[in-house]
């Protein structure tokens, strides 16, 4: 038995049983068993999530918040139940602070377009980090352009960790917002967000956390973190695409103008004046992704049942195993070696382009992501155009890491010097 198996058994995590919950994993690609290592892009869905969506369409389908009829009451109850589940899962104070959006991207845009446009002015500063996903860069650039505010960036060091001394220097009387990724999708770095938030608050600034890569892999306690806004995507949490959450503190959300206008977000409408609905509905105009919301509830249940602590512990063991295995491959360099890391392995291979690596691995049934991972500034920092990225989930196994290593030797065989 190798050390990983031992650690796994110690953690009480039965990966083979868990794998059986994910129908998509049970297939071959180009004649080889699928090895899915692109979980940071989107995670696979357990049967429970798929069943919840099917049940909604087969049994309970109706619009929400509108009808007095039975189906509408059922669908409304199921959809709203997800709000309660998410509140509990992330320990938010109030249910009304959980706003349904399409995903992390829309959550951040909601904040920049409502809070940003009404609170920022010439001379104000927004701080982000050099690790951000484009979705936590571009929306801020839009609002900076509109308001005259300025974007400042915390640099990262060679390991891919934020340089906190530089952050401290950037903080000042002009800082209005610190918008920071919790976990980097490109490198896996886990940022010390609790500390970053405390420092921001001490400087009188608000905080937004992009939790897209954190919520699926580690416990998140919103009250303990004290983040003012926090966004994540359902599809990376083993839930459906098209649904995500923006959390915001009640007093901030109350003071913000609505995001979009339409049905559900109003209390009264006349042609002279419209009054807005209460939280969270003020920010939820129009018919939402009801099936997605219900599926997200099933995903939260599933992850809760497995235990997010156990998931994190297992994935960490897998990360250590994979890191050691990849480091043995001559000519391979791991990009991003932060001391606190989620189970993401970004790497380059001498003389071989990531696209070619990705194609050859695909032929071995192995799905990885290649490219800049929507984080071009990170690639620029390392002076590389792209990396190959294996991002792990709790249904991955040590044997799959071995398959990845074998696949990479095949890559060397095809492209090696001869």
């Amino acid at each position: 038995m190798n050390t990983l198996d031992r650690a796994v058994i110690a953690a009480g995590f039965d990966v083979e049983r868990v794998r059986a919950d994910f129908p998509v994993l049970n297939q071959t690609i180009h004649g080889k068993p699928l090895v899915y290592l692109d979980n940071a892009a989107t995670a696979q869905k357990p049967r429970a999530v798929i069943d919840a969506i099917v049940k909604f369409y087969e049994v309970d389908c109706a619009n929400i918040h509108r009808g007095v009829h039975e189906l509408s009451q059922r669908s409304t109850a199921a959809y709203e139940e997800t709000r309660a589940k998410v509140r509990r899962f992330l320990n938010a104070r109030h249910k009304q602070e959980i706003i349904f959006v399409r995903g992390t991207t829309e959550g951040i845009n909601l904040v920049t377009q409502t809070w940003g446009r009404t609170h920022l002015k010439q001379g104000d500063e927004i701080i982000i980090a050099g690790l951000e996903h484009h979705s936590n860069i571009v929306p801020w650039q839009f609002v900076c352009e509109e308001t005259g505010a300025r974007l400042r960036v915390i640099p990262i060091d060679e390991r891919g960790e934020l340089i906190l001394e530089e952050y401290e220097k950037l903080l000042g009387p002009h800082t209005r917002m610190v918008a920071i990724g919790h976990v980097s999708n490109a490198l896996g770095t886990i940022n010390p967000v609790a500390r970053i938030i405390r420092m921001a608050h001490a400087a009188g600034a608000l905080t937004l956390v992009d939790g897209a890569q954190a919520v699926p892999h580690m416990p998140v306690d919103l009250q303990a973190l004290d983040a003012d806004f926090y966004a994540f995507s359902g599809h990376k949490l083993y839930g459906p695409t098209g649904i995500g959450v923006l959390y915001g503190k009640t007093e901030l959300l109350d003071a913000m103008p609505p995001y979009q206008g339409g049905g559900d977000m109003i209390r009264t409408v006349t042609f002279e004046k419209t009054t807005y609905n209460d939280l969270p509905y003020k920010f939820e105009a129009g018919t939402p992704d009801i099936a997605g919301g219900i599926g997200l509830g099933a995903a939260v249940d599933y992850v809760t049942r497995l235990g997010i602590d156990k998931i994190g512990a297992y994935e960490h063991e897998l990360l250590l195993y994979a890191t050691e295995a990849l480091e043995q491959i001559p000519g391979l360099r791991i990009i991003g070696t932060a001391r606190e890391k989620a189970a993401v392995l970004s790497f380059v291979m001498e003389g071989i382009h990531p696209h070619d690596i990705g194609t050859v691995l695909d032929h071995q049934g192995i799905a990885v992501r290649t490219g800049h991972h929507c984080a071009q500034p990170v690639m620029d920092r390392y002076h590389i155009p792209a990396t190959t990225r294996a991002s792990l989930a709790f249904y991955n196994t040590a044997a799959e890491i071995d398959a990845l290593v074998a696949g990479l030797y095949k890559v060397k065989e095809v492209f090696g010097d001869d």
Partner: protein
């Protein structure tokens, strides 16, 4: 099979690209960029009247895009502007349609395997997009998007 994509000639040209340098006396230049993979390519042409008398490129990318640029520069030499433009279309057809490969493509037929890899078509066409803009005399960066 993976060998259908990475044929011997492609591997050879990706490992030892021909005409991979700047070009003294070039009078047409263009830059190409594939935002998907971050690959950048600079293409140099030396036109004598209507004839491409020499071609070279700089930049590095994946095996498919490097081999494509290398083989393209080889096949351009001595072609008229119009012949070169026609070759662009024929190469594009080779990658995106089922029509039998044109005989004018010569060695370039080794890229026929790319057809089965839609995600890689842009790698193979980057040099050719760039060629088009060089022949049109516009100097701005073209992208594959």
């Amino acid at each position: 099979m993976i060998d259908d994509l990475y044929q011997e000639t492609i591997l050879d040209h990706s490992k030892r690209p021909r005409n991979h340098h700047t070009l003294a006396g070039a009078n047409r230049k263009a830059e190409g960029y594939n935002p998907l993979c971050g690959d950048k390519l600079k293409l140099y042409l030396k036109m004598e009247g209507d004839i491409v008398s020499d071609a070279a490129f700089e930049g590095s990318g994946c095996a498919i895009s490097t081999a494509s640029a290398s083989l393209m520069t080889e096949s351009l030499k001595g072609k008229t502007r119009e012949e070169a433009m026609k070759l662009v279309d024929k190469f594009h057809d080779l990658l995106t349609t089922d029509t039998p490969a044109s005989r004018d493509l010569g060695k370039l037929v080794v890229f026929c395997g790319v057809r089965d890899y839609p995600a890689r078509v842009k790698c193979a066409t980057l040099a050719w997009h760039t060629l088009k803009s060089a022949l049109h005399g516009s100097e701005e960066t073209v992208t594959t998007e």
